[in-house]
Symmetry: C2
Subunit: 124 residues, 2 copies
DNA sequence: AATGTATATAACCAAACGGTTAAATACAAA
DNA sequence: TTTGTATTTAACCGTTTGGTTATATACATT
């Protein structure tokens, strides 16, 4: 079950570059705490705390193999976060589309209307 | 220009329900500070601080009309945030697809393989 | 010029954050 | 049973966060 305010804890967990890097690493497969800590010049307890934040946000889950506690990515909360962001991104784009339509209408009788390139990256 | 670690400040700005509600309101159009504050049982300075956080993250921009400082949504940082999240969401889905393929292969000779419904919401 | 309205700033506070070092725990191997 | 390795917990520390109240600023109206 996701935490009461799961969106807040998800975003908060994502708001740290170390934690995002850990998630990036985990997207390539499970890893132990020591493996995850390797790239950082940071104490083990610091990493342990970051992992706890990620775990609290259900962004990772942890196993138990001898003395190792392997971590793996859990993407369900990412889905909710993505949905939230997309909602407003889409609204913003819709607004631009309406503006485009309006400008097109207004400039209907212009001699050479400048071709507007709205979304250069052209995604989705 | 976006801040040095713009992803962190974007996610951090999104990690508060009041600020997300403000963005939701702004997605329906510009609004003054007092209008934005209305739904909340919170002092004006508190709202003012939230707006400053959103502004620092470039999620909103502000105008000047007499004694009003109207806020409007700026979706560019949402795009970056969305892209980041989508990247890992997609990876996670790809992993599931591979698992699906594997399971399909393994169960090839089963009598009546149960139809697995992976992504019930079926988005994108 | 005085008053009212919209907003921001200052000063303060408790709690959370992100790190540290030192010590405890859990298991494996010798 | 001792030693080594992996990880967590405890205690601490400075900074940031999210709120408060009181005060200042900016502009409009009378």
């Amino acid at each position: 079950m996701l935490a009461p305010d799961h969106l807040s804890s998800t975003f908060q967990a994502l708001a740290d570059p170390t934690r995002r890097a850990i998630l990036a690493r985990l997207s390539k497969g499970e890893a132990s705490v020591t493996e995850l800590a390797a790239p950082f010049s940071m104490s083990m307890p610091a990493i342990s705390k970051h992992l706890k934040v990620l775990e609290r946000a259900s962004l990772i889950s942890r196993g138990k193999e001898a003395q190792w506690r392997p971590c793996k990515l859990e993407a369900a909360p990412l889905e909710a976060a993505s949905d939230w962001v997309e909602q407003y991104r889409a609204m913003w784009e819709a607004r631009f589309d309406r503006l485009d339509a309006y400008l097109k209408e207004v400039q209907e009788k212009e001699v050479k209307p400048t071709t507007r390139k709205r979304n250069a990256k052209g995604k989705r």
